[in-house]
Symmetry: C2
């Protein structure tokens, strides 16, 4: 599988801190390798690294990177998501699968040069909506959503649950032992499931 | 097709204005009928109505609605999106297609009662990411993305374009005349395409 990188442009730390955080975390959840952000933002970097450290994987973030430099140093196809671009269903089959891709995600203003430099200008719908939503749908369709439940060897793993919350702490993640019943390797289970149906839910990270 | 409604809870106007705007607009782009927001927010209502008025369709917004009331007055299945829920790929086939659905989208804190009241608690990945991204992927998969390029009879229509920006003003949208070439109805074309490859792009609404 080729690598997916995000280039976030037009980021203003105060105004965009939450939206750019959503861009980074959703791209991480969907299998991207990392994000570049044009404006330097130390707090954003810390927040994203904190999630990546707890929940695993090797997502990276670097801020203060001009998009022109990121694109110049990148070998692969550059995709710009914009509501003005060609239809995503028509564009997807044209994107080569054996090259890395870099996805440019704009904030309010996108320089015309981006439209020219991009190998593909792709829309996810022709309605004004959300760069987070557009990126998420693009990545879900491009990857088939295969990273959504992948094992990332994190300190914390959330186990899907129809009614409550199940979070596993993986402090001894690497210590596997043969199953007593001969069903192959089994994870050591001295770490109880942290089942937390707290009175006030709390989906905060 | 059954109707899709969004119930946004935990909205705090100052902190969440942009995220809730993204939730509303992306659900609109993906075919939802409207959104309820628990906290009264007149500015949010105006912004969403402004987009709906210019770009068409009949998306509605009402703020200051308790989720308990919205759910009580709703006839259909209630879906709660949460990173702790069951896998989206396993949940989707269970959702009846002949009933309306209401999707509860939380902000940071979600009361435990929501988990109990929902007919389905569904995750879009088991990683922390973004309620906007989760909603977008859920709706894209649930609807097949069929609304993304649907005609909404708006004052403005964006035409997919591989390189520039094409926006059509539909001031006489309703005035159709028979085609001179006998190919049925044809739109009056005295309104030129507004092709705008502006020097500074500008994806603002």
């Amino acid at each position: 599988m080729s690598e997916i990188w995000i280039m976030r442009i037009g980021h203003r730390p105060e105004r965009d801190k939450r939206v750019t955080t959503h861009v980074a975390l959703s791209s991480r959840a969907l299998g991207a390798r990392g994000i570049y952000v044009d404006t330097y933002d130390e707090v954003l970097e810390q927040n994203i690294r904190s999630v990546a450290e707890r929940f695993g994987g090797d997502y990276s973030i670097k801020t203060g990177v001009r998009w022109q430099d990121a694109v110049r140093n990148f070998s692969g196809k550059v995709i710009h998501l914009t509501m003005y671009g060609e239809r995503v269903d028509e564009a997807l089959p044209k994107i080569p699968r054996d090259e890395d891709i870099m996805i440019i995600v704009g904030a309010e203003k996108v320089p015309a040069e981006v439209y020219q430099r991009a190998d593909f200008n792709i829309s996810v719908g022709n309605q004004p909506h959300s760069e987070i939503a557009a990126l998420a749908i693009f990545l879900d369709r491009f990857t088939g959503g295969e990273a959504l439940y992948s094992d990332r060897n994190g300190k914390l793993t959330v186990i899907p649950n129809e009614r409550g919350k199940t979070v596993v702490e993986n402090t001894k993640r690497r210590r596997m032992r043969p199953s007593a019943r001969g069903r192959g390797l089994q994870e050591e289970s001295d770490h109880p499931l942290l089942h937390r149906p707290r009175r006030r839910g709390g989906d905060d990270l």
